[in-house]
Symmetry: C2
Subunit: 165 residues, 2 copies
DNA sequence: TTGGAGTGTCAACAAAGCTGACGTATTGTG
DNA sequence: CACAATACGTCAGCTTTGTTGACACTCCAA
């Protein structure tokens, strides 16, 4: 306190800067979910359905337990969402081959089609933001977000990333 | 398509990179809310109470209508939250001086104390992430988030920023 | 064969959003 | 002054998405 500005400038760590970061996160997340939400509300679906569809698409054949770990909800909560998606023919649940207790989840054609609509909308906004900000800013964005994750979530995030490419 | 890598490298705009950005946003937001959520669940409060407390603290004396605009919820929804906060003595609602229809909202001592606990926890995580990533990354983080906001939200975000400093 | 893991389902409940309708106090306008 | 509009609060009812707790079934492995 009252020691003036350090030569290596830690001004970006002031409470005011941190508060701006917090508010930026809050408002940006609302923008981030706005486009898919608009598409979903025209059907009988919500954000929970989007998340399930997203991660099933990302890791086809994933089990219910694995999905539970990624989404961090109870199986009762996930099951309600999953049931409607299966009934509506967007998701297929196949009995596991090696372990027949498990259910492997896949998107149907129709499920893939909805996933594409949703992620196209979300990617469009992300792409615009990335392009506006440029590659260096994007790198910083990714770095800060990764540091902000909880340990277990970061592990899952990284494991998904390896999966993708 | 199939034209190879451009010399100015737009590789950071590939669908895979965008998808990683989307997932980073999802996992980071969960980390972002985790600490306050833990504090809140020990009381009878939720995220909605936190948001109200945050923005009342940020703009003391703000009106209900203004808070509605910032939070983007209905007055019925906000009122439920606000009522419990007033009953519990965390928020004070004073009749407006110039316009007696308005209610100016303030945190009480107790309200300020809770706000501090919540934002200390949230800032600690943000500070750690900022420090890990460094000033340039933080600048990029802020830039991308701002681009990701909807027009109206961006306006509100900037107006809050002017207010703060 | 038996214990435990993975899965699904029933019931009951809570938080936090929504719409619609209505009442009251206050203010601004014609 | 009369009246419309604004700001706020509240009642009732509904939805989504989360929670616990209890229980049953299938199937794997010791």
């Amino acid at each position: 306190m009252g020691e003036g500005i350090r030569s290596d400038s830690l001004l970006y760590l002031t409470d005011e800067q941190l508060r701006q970061g917090i508010e930026a996160m809050y408002f940006a997340y609302r923008g981030f979910t706005a486009d898919p939400d608009r598409i979903l509300e025209s059907m009988a679906y919500g954000r929970a359905h989007h998340r399930a569809i997203h991660f099933i698409n990302r890791a086809p054949g994933t089990t219910v337990t694995n999905l539970l770990a990624i989404l961090g909800v109870t199986k009762q909560s996930l099951n309600r969402v999953l049931r409607t998606l299966i009934e509506d023919g967007l998701v297929e649940s196949r009995v596991g081959t090696s372990d027949r207790r498990e259910r492997n989840l896949y998107l149907t054609e129709e499920g893939i089609s909805l996933e594409n609509r949703l992620s196209d909308a979300q990617r469009a906004r992300m792409r615009a933001a990335f392009r506006d900000a440029g590659p260096d800013a994007v790198s910083g964005f990714r770095q800060v977000l990764e540091s902000m994750m909880d340990g277990e979530l970061r592990r899952q995030y990284k494991s998904l990333r390896e999966n993708g490419q």
